[in-house]
């Protein structure tokens, strides 16, 4: 039966080929699109798998780059039971490297407090040194830097070379490579040097990176830090503070950004411009404000620090990739719909042409079910071949994109996705063949033969 089905497909080679191509491209598109989410998930798991500690930052800030918290809170955090090391960090975007504007992929100046950084049990960058050395205490106050291999290759720099970043000549003492496109973006310097270069507020840092003492679980530590900072007032991060600080409230763009920000954070944002600044008030002041303004009562119950472990980041991105999957599924749906119509068309034309053959087969004892099986075997073979070819084509496209844009994106098609592509395509083939197959059962054998 299968051999017969294959021969039937081969006897209409051009039509079968065109149908196969339709399916192949649809499945390749599906694999390609879902590899975006797959790549994101893989990058996230690769990245956060390396981060064993906890990050404390400004509530609502999506990443440490946008966060501003009081520098003095570092010492307080360090006194909380279960915290062993607190490392202050400053993150700032790099605008110009070697006289060229940096747009994509983004690059960041990463200032780290060296004495505490060197005490970390798991220093991501320190352990990923590819050439040279990591920063030491002697590098404090100097322009000695450790850069990623990606940045070194992009600007053709080697160990010992100098690199001009935002107009500052820096000396490359080390090159690191973590393998994650989210981590291999930093130019690492002493925190005070980055503060000077970027004119960062002397009383603030971007975030604190903490390591627990070992006898406390991450989740417990997160809870106790949040509890400790409950009742303090620290303005939530507002996107408007970056781009639209001086714009009027009636500005439509500002209103739009505010609404996106609100939806991201899941809580209404205050209109107060004062909240756009890093502000710390003492408890008594907060209590006075709370009496005057009932909305402050709500804020009082919320911790002034957002504390995230690697699994929190992972969970957030998992939610995002799940949403992305829905969007990608909708886009894939268009291609799939075209592919299924192509199968139905191909199989229906093929069935109409062979209606006499089916009459002959029925005259020789083939049941309606046998004829339907033959037709769906043909369409499922098309589906299977389309799934296999589509998966391979998708993989080739992914390799090309990953190779061509190695620093910007990382697409990943898991074996599960490829297998799903094959199963899905075969199912499409079967479904696409069902209507033409059913169509043949409506005629008696003699009606079918007489059609010829």
């Amino acid at each position: 039966m299968l051999k017969f089905a294959i021969r039937n497909l081969l006897s209409r080679s051009l039509r079968s080929f065109l149908c196969l191509m339709g399916l192949t491209i649809a499945i390749a598109g599906m694999v390609g699109l879902f590899s975006i989410a797959g790549g994101l998930e893989k990058t996230v798991s690769q990245t956060f798998g390396k981060i064993t500690g906890i990050v404390a930052m400004q509530p609502g800030a999506p990443i440490p780059l946008f966060s501003r918290i009081p520098r003095s809170w570092g010492a307080e955090i360090g006194r909380i039971p279960g915290v062993s090391i607190v490392n202050a960090e400053i993150w700032s975007r790099v605008n110009i490297i070697e006289g060229k504007p940096v747009i994509s992929p983004p690059r960041f100046l990463f200032g780290t407090e060296l004495p505490t950084r060197l005490q970390l049990k798991n220093g991501i960058y320190r352990e990923a040194i590819y050439a040279g050395r990591f920063l030491s205490l002697e590098d404090q106050g100097t322009l000695n830097t450790v850069i990623s291999k990606q940045i070194a290759e992009q600007h053709k720099k080697q160990l010992g070379d100098s690199i001009e970043v935002n107009g500052q000549e820096m000396n490359i003492v080390g090159i690191y490579e973590t393998g994650s496109i989210l981590l291999d973006v930093a130019i690492i310097l002493d925190i005070e040097v980055v503060r000077d270069i970027t004119r960062f507020d002397p009383e603030s840092v971007s975030c604190f990176y903490l390591e627990q003492s070992g006898d406390v679980e991450n989740d417990e530590l997160v809870k106790s830090i949040k509890e400790h900072f409950k009742g303090r007032e620290l303005a939530s991060w507002q996107p408007t503070s970056l781009a639209l600080a001086n714009a009027s409230q009636s500005n439509l763009l500002k209103a739009l950004i505010n609404s996106i920000d609100q939806s991201l954070k899941g809580s209404p944002s205050s209109n107060s411009e004062a909240k756009n600044k890093t502000q710390v008030k003492n408890k008594s002041q907060t209590e006075v404000s709370a009496i005057k303004d009932p909305s402050q009562q709500i804020e009082k119950e919320v911790s002034a620090l957002e504390v995230r472990s690697a699994s929190d980041w992972g969970d957030r991105l998992e939610t995002f990739t799940a949403d992305l999957d829905i969007f990608l599924g909708l886009m894939t749906g268009i291609g799939v719909l075209i592919a299924i119509l192509s199968i139905i068309n191909t199989m229906l034309m093929s069935v109409i042409e062979r209606i006499v053959d089916f009459g002959i087969l029925k005259a020789n004892g083939w049941s309606n079910r046998d004829v339907m099986l033959l037709i769906t075997a043909e369409s499922s073979l098309l589906g299977l071949a389309g799934g296999i070819l589509g998966g391979q084509l998708g993989l080739v496209a992914i390799y090309i994109v990953n190779w061509k844009f190695a620093n910007q994106v990382h697409l990943y098609a898991s074996p599960g996705l490829l297998l799903f592509g094959v199963v899905f395509s075969t199912t499409l083939g079967i479904v696409g063949g069902l209507y033409p197959a059913w169509w043949t059962t409506r005629m008696t054998p003699i009606d079918a033969i007489r059609r010829g």
């Binding site: 039966m1 017969f4 002959i360 087969l361 029925k362 005259a363 049941s367 009606d447």
Partner: protein, 223 residues
């Protein structure tokens, strides 16, 4: 062997009813060569196909070996066609994607072809003179050869009944004679009842059963 009782067949074409058979009753004796004769449109082929359970009569009944075909369910009708009846059509009706051997084995493709059946199919093709052409496709065979493949296909199932609709209609005289000779040989050898619809009366012998139809009714019946 075959008992036809008051069979009527009405074809519906749009709002028009065509009475292909109008109360036909007759008996085809077993293990004989029978002919259904008559002009075009007399209902010959319709009667033949009803006997092969390819279609259902509008009224009346057909009994084969004392079993009414109208009592067979769909599965039993499929089995009847696969195991009891062999069809030979005017335009051969071979499957062009299959070679001669595979065409002979076609009835058994869904349920699986045994080694025995394959061996017997090869023997049958040799018997009808196609031993060296078993791997040829229909397009590589002459009309006579294609009809021999169709006969071999009909014989593989060792049928009770071979129903042939104008089997020489598309063949020249000599090839037509050879096909009839072939049919008579295998009928005699396998003790099969053969019913043939034809216009051509040259191949009829005195011992054959003849049924003449005209306008869907029996015009003449004799042995």
């Amino acid at each position: 062997m075959i008992e036809v009782r008051n069979v009527e067949k009405i074809h519906q074409t749009g709002e028009t009813e065509v009475h292909a058979l109008q109360g036909v009753s007759c008996h085809f004796p077993g293990q004989t060569f029978s002919f259904i004769l008559g002009p075009s449109g007399s209902g010959k082929s319709t009667l033949l196909y009803l006997m092969g359970a390819l279609d259902n009569p509008s009224t009346g009944e057909i009994f084969v070996q004392n079993r009414s075909l109208s009592t067979l369910n769909r599965k039993e009708r499929d089995t009847y066609r696969r195991e009891k009846v062999g069809f030979v059509f005017q335009n051969f009706n071979l499957l062009k994607n299959l070679n001669a051997l595979e065409n002979v084995l076609a009835p058994y493709l869904p349920i699986g072809v045994s080694a025995d059946q394959k061996k017997r199919a090869e023997e049958l093709l040799k018997q009808v003179g196609l031993g060296k052409r078993i791997t040829h496709r229909p397009s590589q065979l002459s009309g006579g050869e294609q009809q021999r493949v169709a006969i071999a296909r009909a014989l593989l199932k060792r049928p009770l009944l071979i129903l042939a609709d104008e089997p020489t209609g598309e063949l020249d005289t000599q090839t037509g004679a050879e096909i009839f000779e072939c049919l008579r040989d295998v009928s005699e050898q396998y003790k099969t009842t053969v019913v043939i619809v034809t216009h051509d009366e040259r191949y009829i012998r005195d011992t054959d059963f003849i049924l003449r139809l005209r306008d869907g009714r029996i015009a003449e019946e004799n042995v």
